[in-house]
């Protein structure tokens, strides 16, 4: 499914026409590898930087500030020489398949390294987490692995079963898994969709609709009817309940127009408000937890109505649920933006981790950075994600934590005719002070897991460690692999084939002032927040972009390829651009990476 403009048709639904063919970008970089990324990378790609050989522009009044943690693995891996090199060799395979695992043998030699990364996806995840480990009380992923999975592997090796996925199979097919560190979905009317459409970056990505909204009630998983078609087809609702639910949802669609219906209840919680409406208890449950996705205590009437309206507003634009998921995972999206950027001249210095900043003594501005090879890269602006800072820089910052778990299971939490369901399930917190757990179950057709398995992401705001927060929910929904000794008995719950728990830092909503000694041209972008949508990230990216380029349009649509005139002497200037990096010429043409802004590059 390609993202296109569509109208909301909560009440009258019609599928959008999806006949558009994938337009091929007219230039592409194949060296760009991002196996596991967090959303914050998008913001990083928007940074502008000037490249220069180390040793240049050395002034006496410059000191090296250790603002950055050392030996920090860059998220953007790969090296610039390779980048330039492969950019000269247009790949035969025109589709963006750097993370694809479908046809490894057909890939060009330059993708060998990607292949290696893919195989090690799981390990990569673990390693990355250790990074958080340094600073947070996250549990090491590899620890979990050894304690949980090794016995499983032995078990399955001894008793291989037909049609049953074993641990060794998972390892063998490891390349078929694309595990996001961050588990989010796209609201079909969220800011990110709007941005993808506006900037035409959507052409580089494909999406699938979330097919089901689920609820966990009285120990059972059930489907929540939320669209008109769902309500019509639902077998679990009575006729009267169907009417009640539709009536309430229709009201929520334009609740602002009927203030008399809720004004009297503004002071109470949304859950109390629902009790005053003509809704049966199970309808109240569906609306509260699965549609408004809030809790008994968390939100007041207006917030709940707003959340419900937002949910409903997103329905029907691309399908029967409000959410989209990008094929190959959320990590595709930063890549897509980078790709658009590269098409219009952006340059990536892959595999250059930043060692330290060069700060002008007088102006207290960052002048350049030094990479791990001691190479100096001059920069006017420096944009960095929160987790790259050293402890010194963020010694005064109070971080919240996000508890995460990633599971591989052998079947869906709710079996239906189709085994290609993508579901979201909200499990309310049981005790006061605990948070609702968001469960997103991905099927193999999302290209994030191998056939016969499901990839399950659990997320909640941390109250303890990830394991303590999430394990109770995992136990309710799934069966540990080792418990199924009676082989013939049909197990109701899906079995866990692999599990990973980790905490990650929630650096959203942190004021810039909380960091120590930041030069004024260093911009901080937060890591991902705990929410389901991406609105915060888009807002933040736009805000940072406006700080750096105050008079520029944020992610404008690229010009039509037919309207682009390529200069006759372009070849020459290209050569000189790329020769800069290895050959160290003294005078380097400036190259801006501002996204989709060809005027600037042509000046």
């Amino acid at each position: 499914m390609k993202v296109q403009h569509g109208k909301s048709r909560f009440l009258k639904m019609k599928k959008p026409l999806l006949l558009a063919e994938r337009t091929k970008p007219f230039n592409m970089w194949k060296c760009f590898v991002m196996p596991v990324v967090s959303w914050s990378n998008v913001a990083k790609e928007l940074s502008t930087c000037d490249l220069e050989k180390p040793g240049q522009d050395l002034h006496e009044d410059v000191e090296e500030a250790g603002a950055l943690q050392k030996n920090h693995a860059s998220v953007i891996s790969g090296n610039p020489t390779e980048a330039a090199h492969s950019a000269y060799q247009p790949s035969e395979d025109e589709s963006l398949c750097t993370v694809s695992c479908e046809m490894p043998t057909e890939q060009t030699p330059s993708s060998d390294q990607e292949t290696a990364l893919e195989i090690n996806d799981v390990e990569v995840t673990g390693e990355k987490e250790k990074r958080y480990d340094d600073k947070t009380h996250a549990k090491s992923a590899s620890e979990e692995e050894t304690s949980e999975n090794v016995p499983i592997a032995e078990d399955t090796v001894l008793q291989p079963k037909k049609n049953r996925i074993t641990y060794s199979q998972i390892i063998k097919e490891g390349r078929r898994f694309n595990i996001d560190l961050v588990s989010k979905l796209l609201y079909s009317r969220g800011l990110l969709i709007d941005l993808l459409i506006k900037s035409n970056v959507s052409r580089y990505a494909e999406f699938k609709n979330i097919t089901r909204i689920l609820a966990f009630r009285e120990g059972r998983v059930e489907q929540v009817p939320c669209s008109r078609a769902d309500v019509f087809n639902s077998k679990q609702l009575t006729m009267v309940e169907k009417r009640m639910l539709m009536k309430f949802l229709t009201f929520c669609m334009e609740y602002e127009k009927h203030p008399d219906e809720y004004k009297a209840y503004e002071e109470i919680t949304f859950s109390e408000y629902l009790k005053t409406q003509k809704l049966t208890p199970n309808l109240q449950y569906f609306v509260l937890h699965s549609i408004a996705m809030t809790s008994e205590t968390a939100s007041n009437t207006v917030d709940g109505l707003k959340a419900t309206k937002n949910f409903l507003h997103c329905l029907g634009r691309y399908g029967n649920t409000p959410f989209l998921f990008p094929l190959y995972g959320q990590g595709e999206l930063p890549q897509c933006f980078c790709r658009m950027c590269a098409v219009f001249g952006g340059i990536y210095c892959l595999r250059h981790s930043v060692q330290c900043l060069v700060v002008d003594k007088e102006s207290r501005k960052c002048k350049a950075i030094i990479d791990q090879f001691g190479q100096r890269i001059i920069s006017k602006h420096f944009l960095v994600e929160d987790s790259y800072f050293s402890e010194n820089t963020c010694s005064h910052v109070q971080y919240r934590q996000i508890s995460r778990s990633v599971l591989i299971t052998d079947r869906s939490v709710l079996k239906t005719d189709s085994d290609q369901q993508i579901s979201i399930l909200t499990v309310p917190g049981e005790e006061p002070g605990t948070f609702a757990v968001r469960v997103i179950e991905l099927c193999p057709s999302t290209m994030t897991c191998m056939k016969g398995t499901y990839l399950v992401h659990l997320t909640c705001t941390s109250s303890k460690t990830a394991r303590e927060d999430l394990e109770p929910v995992v136990q309710k929904l799934f069966t540990p692999y080792t418990e199924t000794e009676i082989e013939n008995e049909e197990v109701e719950k899906p079995r866990l084939l692999w599990a990973l728990y980790f905490n990650m830092r929630d650096s959203s909503d942190i004021s810039r002032n909380s960091y120590n000694d930041l030069p004024s041209n260093v911009y901080v972008c937060s890591g991902p927040d705990c929410g389901l949508g991406n609105d915060n990230a888009v807002k933040q990216a736009e805000r940072l972009f406006q700080l750096i380029c105050p008079n520029e349009d944020f992610c404008p649509p690229p010009p039509n390829p037919e309207d682009i005139i390529i200069d006759g002497d372009s070849l020459q200037s290209e050569t000189s651009e790329f020769s800069v990096i290895p050959e160290a010429n003294s005078e380097t043409p400036k190259e801006s990476t501002s996204l989709g802004n060809p005027e600037e590059t042509s000046q």
Binding site: L11, K12, M13, K14, K15, L17, L19, N27, A87, Y88, P90, R228, A229, V231, F232, N233, M239, V240, K242, R243, M244, M246, K247, K278, V343, F344, G345, P559, D563, I564, I565, I566, D567, D569, S570, L571, S573, E574, E577, P598, E599, T601, S602
Partner: protein, 567 residues
């Protein structure tokens, strides 16, 4: 690879676009011209196919070019080998598909596909069904595609069960789909044919109940969606009754025989003839309508020769046979009587429940209950209110009369746009109830005063009525159908808004007519009354025409036979 980029300015873009359009237009026009020249010259070869495909590919609605293509294909059929033809057909099918993508609602394209598939020796129907399914996935309400699908399903003899399952899947996706519901109403009677004796076009009860549940799901989910309500109406409706002769009346005085049918028919056209046997021997008569117009009518009458009415025999038997509908009826005129009749009672035949079916009342009762439940949640839903009224009529029109009138009031308030329609519907129901009450009382007097009537209907049911009171209503006319009241002696229609009297004509027995306080403006509107031979008393007080200068003289001149005209 990254060239220095320069973007064309908007003027440059506009200019480029303009040139492109100009170029396109040139090509289009020259291609069209060439095709027409070739067609005129009779050069119907593959080059015409090529040229027309260029044009149709851009504009599939060029009907003449489709005709042209058909001519070429017909000619090539005779010239080519089967292999070549197969290749030709394959290209043509692919081309049609690409045209449908340009415009999925092009009449010409779908028609051409029908034509082509109909000519193929071994058409691949499965592929065509697949094509329909794909287009309906994109737009489930594309009626062109639905038409084509029905064509394909008939040609390929697809079992109705499979097509029904297909409608299921589409309704599941979006139940607001008239075509899909309609298709069901065609398929279900095929799937569940009723035994010959039963009512035609009806469903067995278990199937009916399942359908009712499905459609209830739809209108409880969205009561404002009409498609489900229409289907609901179909489910509960009943098939057209067979033609029947409702009433036969013979009058000695007027030497006239009157027949009333269950539906308007046209007697004397083609095979549809009405035979009359008097005392078991056929009699050739001239049939006419009461108002003298030759068009379909409920009531037909004929003059009888004196011989068939003589008072010597103890009785005369009149037997009428309607050849087109295999209906017949017999009545007897006894010696010494002025008239004789034979009639199906409206009460026995449950005549006025015909909006909805004569299904078991338990089904209707439970439908009524769920609709009332819905109405409680949605007090202002017009479809629900209307369905409740119809269900009540089907269950027991007299028992629910009061409740029905209340629902009408609510309905008019929520749907003011259709107030006039609702008034007429209400009038119809009230009239039906009055007829029922009259028949239960076994009298020939009908009181319809003070009922707020806006329209008169079912007048053919009133063949035998002698006294009719229409006073204090909102009637604006006495319609031509009133001429069917052959026995009417006294007609009161005071305090209405009557402007015309077309129906008060040729009423053989009418003696007294009251039209006080109406809107009769010109004496000329009373012209039809001149054809009422026995009219002696006419009340016209309170009409605008009374104030006109010389009105009385004019009236006396117009109606010389009327003894007293009160103005």
């Amino acid at each position: 690879m990254h060239g220095r980029l320069k973007v064309k300015t908007s003027e440059e873009q506009a200019e480029a676009k303009r040139l492109e359009r100009e170029q396109k237009l040139k090509l289009y026009q020259s291609a069209t011209q060439t095709v027409f020249q070739k067609r005129q010259a009779g050069e119907l070869d593959e080059s015409v196919l090529e040229l027309t495909s260029q044009i149709l590919g851009a504009n599939p609605d060029f009907a003449t070019l489709w005709n042209c293509r058909r001519e070429v294909l017909q000619r090539l059929e005779a010239q080519k080998s089967p292999e070549e033809l197969a290749a030709l057909v394959k290209t043509e099918l692919g081309f049609l598909e690409s045209c449908l993508r340009v415009n999925p609602k092009s009449y010409g394209t779908w028609h051409h596909r029908c034509w082509l598939l109909g000519r193929l020796p071994e058409p691949n129907w499965a592929r065509e069904l697949e094509l329909c399914a794909r287009f309906l996935e994109v737009d489930e309400r594309n009626f062109h595609c639905w038409d084509y699908r029905r064509f394909v399903a008939t040609q390929a003899a697809v079992p109705p069960a499979e097509e029904l399952a297909f409608t299921d899947s589409l309704i599941t996706r979006n139940f607001s789909n008239y075509s899909s519901w309609h298709y069901r109403s065609c398929l279900l009677p095929q799937l569940h044919p009723q035994p010959d004796t039963g009512p035609q076009g009806r469903l067995p009860e278990d199937v009916l109940l399942k359908e009712l549940e499905l459609v209830q799901n739809a209108f409880f989910t969205d009561p404002n969606d009409q498609s489900a309500w229409f289907y609901h109406r179909w489910l509960l409706g009943r098939a057209d009754p067979q033609d029947a002769l409702r009433c036969l009346h013979v009058s000695r005085d007027e030497a006239c025989l009157t027949v009333s049918f269950s539906r308007p028919v046209l007697v004397g056209s083609g095979t549809e003839t009405l035979l009359l046997m008097v005392d078991e021997s056929p009699l050739a008569v001239e049939w006419r309508t009461p108002d003298g117009r030759t068009r379909p009518s409920h009531v037909w009458l004929c003059d009888l020769p004196a011989a068939s009415l003589n008072d010597q025999l103890p009785q005369h038997t009149f037997h009428v046979i309607w050849t087109a509908g295999e209906a017949q009826k017999e009545c007897v005129l006894l010696k010494g009587r002025q008239e004789g009749w034979c009639r199906d009672s409206a009460t026995d035949a449950q005549l006025f429940r015909c909006e909805l079916s004569v299904e078991k009342s338990t089904v209707l009762q439970s439908e009524l209950e769920s609709c009332k439940e819905l109405q409680e949640l949605e007090p202002e839903n017009k479809w629900c209110l209307l369905t409740i009224i119809l269900l009540m009529r089907a269950l027991d029109p007299l028992l629910y009369e009061k409740e029905t009138l209340q629902y009408f009031q609510t309905l008019k308030a929520v749907d003011p746009m259709r107030a006039a329609y609702l008034d007429d519907l209400r009038s119809k129901f009230l009239l039906e109830n009055s007829v029922l009450k009259m028949e239960y009382a076994e009298v020939r007097v009908l009181h319809l005063g003070h009922k707020d009537l806006t329209v008169l209907c079912h007048l053919e049911q009133l063949l035998l009525v002698t006294h009719l009171d229409l006073s204090h209503n909102r009637l604006r006319a006495l319609p031509p159908a009133l001429a069917a009241l052959r026995c009417l002696e006294v007609l009161q229609a005071n305090d209405n808004a009557i402007e015309s009297l077309d129906g008060v004509t040729s009423l053989p027995r009418l003696q007294e007519l009251s039209l006080c306080n109406n809107r009769l403006r010109q004496p000329a509107v009373l012209q039809p009354l001149a054809a009422c031979p026995r009219l002696v008393l006419l009340h016209l007080q309170g009409n605008p025409l009374c104030h006109a200068v010389g009105a009385s003289e004019h009236l006396a001149e117009l109606l010389p036979a009327v003894n007293s005209i009160l103005t």
